[in-house]
Amino acid sequence: MAAAAAVKSGRLQTVYWARGTLRSTVEKMAVSSSTLRARPALVERAAVALLALLVLLLCGLIGCGRRVVPVATSADPETIPGLIDVGLEGFTAEHHALGARIGEVLADEKLVDDPLDGVDEPEELLVVRVDPSQEDAVLEELRRRPDVHFAEPVVRVEALWVPDDPQFAQQWHLKAAGAPSAWDSARGAGVTVAIIDTGIAPVDDLDPARLLGGHNFLTGGDDAADDHGHGTHVAGTVAQTTDNGVGVAGMAPLARLMPLKVLGADGSGTSVGIADAIRWAADHGARVLNLSLGGGARSAAMAHAVAYARSRGCVVVCAAGNGGGRGVSYPAAYPGAVAVSAVGPHGRLAPYSSYGPEVRIAAPGGDKSQGEEAGVLQQTIDPSSGAGVYRWFQGTSMAAPHVSGAAALLEAAGVTDPGAVERLLASSARKPGAYGGAEIAADSDRYGAGLLDVAGALRTATVVWTFWRVALAALGAAVALGHARRLGQIRRTPAGLWPALLLGAGAYTVLAPLGVARVGLSALALPPAGMAQHFVGLAGTGVAASAIAFLGWSAVLPLIVALVARGLPPLRGIAAGLAFGWAGVLIHAALVRSIYLPVLPSWLAPVWLLIGAFVAWWVGRAVIVPERLR
């Protein structure tokens, strides 16, 4: 882990460069603002240009930030005394000998310098244990060598929030999937995940308040208790109660679980029962469906059920299968399903995992050929006694719920369209082998888009998207202000417009990764247009929630504010800014197709959003004109 963290520090120089450029840009802005004040039209143009520049610089900064560890000296309490990492030019035996001369070589890895990323990276990484009293002198000596990219103490890197579940430290799989960093922005509140499996047992490390009423498709009743253990383990990976001082953690700790029992005590069931459960889940408010099951037989009923759930806005996550070869199981292989293959702690395909062109993403499923603790650790039941026990399981069934939990976190952060969830997970996926710093060739049949990294996906949905929302909003505002000036309707920008624009565009969501969910303010990971869903439920979970989603993702609220502001001139700038910000959010949502709206076909939702964006912009344009200038 330390070695993997240290690899990332090779990008530090680039980050410093970007930060320096940013600082100088801001300074230039400050110097030039007084000159520009005299010419209002120029101010608007300069503001838009600088905002766009800022967006690009900050996006670049975030991209680099993914790979950064804090800079440290050996005096820093976060460093591990006597442990250093060294990035070297070229991969040679001489470097290993160098490591052996200065101490004990703990790791010697070959790295890949991506020629396309514009960053000159080391090709060899040594992790060496040295005499702590000599550490500074050794580092000094190493830094003088021309073939050394960097030499530094190894730093402990931890997420902002570490839960107090005593066995969390053994859950390598949650950390590999990026959950601890993701928990700073979202925890899955308000999202229901259907566990279509052997049922869920009410074990002590599952908060009963998060366990919804389910259905038993074997007996026809409501009792969906687990008599096998598989479903309880899977449910734990999705939403084990976390930070409760007991046992272990789960991917989306505040998500609700809907137990749908389709498999008996022997772990098997029928295609008809599974198809019925998929439809039931979609009709009863589940936003994510986890199917850690499968078989080799095609079933039209199940294929149609998957398509139905997808059309109702559900993310349908399925295990790829445990055949250990080519050939993905059903329902994972059906269109509309997210087929998940399994990897072990090093990010290498587990020997049992099925693969094929249908695989969309790989996630930790455990690889116990590396040892018992290389499995996935959750609470389950001992089926003979029904007592709660903590067990390491392995299988693609264990990989799928990591993706389901990740989907729940994204939904909670306002990405409600299943296609958008899937695209975000795919675009943020890491290279095969990345969990363990290994070098493995990309292979889309085995790994799909790559290895699950929910932290990266959430960073895009909060920080990166926020910059685009603000940029689009600012562009719309600049066009409107320029137009009003050309017509002689205004002389200067109405007071409060820009701050209100930032609020309407949800600029505060850039702060989400700093820990809004940690202090119970996870609504702040959403722009105002999507905030209602945080309090009333996601669209598709009920009529009222759906109606409010339609209203939120339209121009209704800025229109109401503008109508009020018409009679209160000092508020016009604020009303206009809010409307322009809102327009930026709506147009961005239409462009990235991130919002699911019930009833509307998926292609029509962006049309709704674009209409809303135009109306919001028009409202902003209208409200900035109090009267014609004399």
């Binding site: 096998h228 498999l263 772990g267 069931g269 099951l293 499968g294 080799g296 445990n322 389950t380 392995q394």
Partner: protein, 68 residues
């Protein structure tokens, strides 16, 4: 159908039973398994549609099993 082979308990999905036949085919077994893993057995049963947690080859519902 009748199958002969070696009974395996595989550490997958919390534990599944499989039969490896003499010609190397793998079948996932469900139902009552009264014999210990590693034994050579004769299984009577029928192939099911096979949806479940195992996802590792055709599934046979065991009606009778004996050591041979």
């Amino acid at each position: 159908m009748k199958l002969r082979g070696r009974l395996e308990r595989r550490d997958l999905e919390g534990g599944i039973w499989q039969l490896v036949t003499d010609d190397g085919q793998r079948f996932t077994l469900v139902g009552s398994i009264p014999v210990k893993a590693g034994a050579r057995v004769e299984v009577e049963g029928f192939v099911e549609e096979g949806f479940g947690i195992a996802m590792a080859g055709p599934q046979v519902r065991v009606t009778r099993m004996r050591e041979v």
